[in-house]
């Protein structure tokens, strides 16, 4: 009985993290972006610095009319937001935030998370196709092309950590982690983070939703709750990417007093990386489609291969 209860508590915790952390990142984005651009951001909802803004947005989305364009492929159009969202929830189950503090410690954790994370893109591709909208179709294709280009450096950089730790379990990787990996795995960390950003289509890799040329890409025809789910998927993706980067490359819960406050370290590292994601959005202009592909194939992939070679040589010698 206690085992069932234990699983239930873990699953509820994963679901809660999935619903709360993306909102925290979204709220941070509102305010941090505003300050970086010398403006206020939302200030009224809730009284104090607009802290209820996201809740108000949520209420608005939930009670908005649901329009599915008559020309659209209706079934796929309706399914797409769910398929974009659920993989990020499922991937979160294998990410540990402290020793033993994990939804489910899987032996193949790293492989599982990488595989499941990529499924979300299928939702975006479905949205782009089903919208029966030329811009949405272009945006969907760009998303797919972006996944194809950046998945490889992403996976190679992750493999480098697996080589260094000798295990695919995320908990095992953190246990094996030592501070000097910060230097040893630095190229891999950069490749992993940048490629992850590109997979999430976050600025400066937001070509698929480039508003100045293809309106809002695959999400153009969406409104209400379905649109909100795509947004939630984007922010859940940020949380997942940052948590993964923290666990793989920054030592997860390791830090001073990690015995007592380990999980705070993981969350702090995750949130610090999320701030970097937001910072990127403000700091860099959007890459053009060909620049984006060239960055992946001629910079990130060779860099990731070099990191693999370096990791292999040092681990064996």
């Amino acid at each position: 009985m206690s085992e069932v209860l234990d699983v239930a508590v873990r699953l509820v915790a994963v679901l809660a993290a999935f619903l709360v952390l993306p909102l925290a990142v979204g709220q941070a984005e509102h305010k941090v972006m505003a300050h970086m651009q010398s403006r206020l951001g939302p200030m009224y909802a809730g009284g104090f610095h607009g802290w209820l803004q996201l809740v108000a947005d949520g209420v608005k989305f939930v009670q908005k009319e649901d329009t599915v364009p008559a020309a659209a492929d209706r079934t796929i159009f309706r399914l797409a937001p769910g398929i974009a969202l659920v993989p990020y929830l499922v991937a979160l189950v294998a990410v540990p935030i402290g020793p033993g503090l994990v939804g489910q410690d899987l032996d193949l954790g790293l492989f599982f998370v990488l595989a499941v994370m990529s499924v979300g893109v299928v939702g975006t591709l479905m949205a782009g196709w089903a919208s029966a909208n030329k811009y949405a179709l272009l945006g969907g294709m760009r998303t797919a092309a972006q996944l194809l280009a950046y998945e490889l450096p992403f996976v190679l950089a992750a493999a480098s950590v697996a080589m260094a730790a000798g295990t695919l379990s995320l908990t095992g990787i953190v246990d094996a982690w030592e501070p000097w990996w910060l230097l040893w795995q630095l190229p891999g960390a950069i490749v992993f983070f940048v490629a992850g950003l590109a997979e999430l289509a976050r600025p400066p890799f937001d070509m698929p939703v480039a508003d100045s040329e293809i309106v809002f890409g695959p999400y153009t025809e969406y409104g209400g709750l379905r649109f909100a789910f795509f947004l939630l998927a984007e922010y859940a993706g940020i949380v997942l990417l940052c948590a993964l980067t923290a666990v793989l490359f920054l030592g997860g819960w390791k830090g001073p007093w990690s015995g007592e406050i380990g999980w705070i370290w993981t969350l702090a590292k995750t949130m610090a990386l999320a701030l970097v994601v937001i910072w990127f959005r403000v700091a860099f202009p959007r890459l053009r489609e060909d620049q984006l592909q060239r960055l992946a194939w001629t910079v990130l992939v060779p860099l990731a291969l070099a990191q693999l070679a370096l990791t292999g040589v040092i681990a064996v010698l």
């Binding site: 929830l89 189950v93 029966a132 001629t298």
Partner: protein, 123 residues
């Protein structure tokens, strides 16, 4: 059932939980949203102007070539993972590393080939 698979049972439960979450959100949405479709409302929005022609227009996707590159490399990259967990274990060592070096060398030559062929840039 062994512990190994019971771990994935938890994953299956979570997938079910996710589906229930999405389904119940849409059910709640159905209860509280208005529903008053008109012909204009159901027109494809596109860029705000009435759409011309149909939505599934033909375009030249120049990046289809990357899909080929990707399939080759991603299938190869999968082999890295089982190898990564054992290559530094006692009894493997340098030989294993050199073998993987040869493997990655082939990957690298593939990229260099595509690069030299001018596949990686377009005008």
């Amino acid at each position: 059932m062994s512990d190994y698979f019971s771990g994935y049972l938890v994953v299956a439960i979570l997938i079910a939980l996710g589906v229930v979450f999405v389904a119940s959100a849409f059910a709640a949405n159905r209860l509280i949203r208005p529903n008053a479709p008109t012909v204009e409302k159901l027109t494809t929005y596109e860029c705000g102007v009435d759409p011309v022609g149909e939505g599934w227009a033909q375009t030249h996707l120049r990046y289809y070539i990357y899909a080929y590159l990707f399939v080759v490399f991603a299938v190869d990259a999968v082999y890295l993972f089982p190898w990564a967990t054992v290559f530094a274990a006692p009894g493997y060592g340098v030989t294993t590393l050199v073998e993987m070096g040869v493997f990655l060398g082939f990957l690298a030559v593939g990229i260099v080939y595509a690069w030299r062929k001018g596949v990686l840039r377009w005008t």
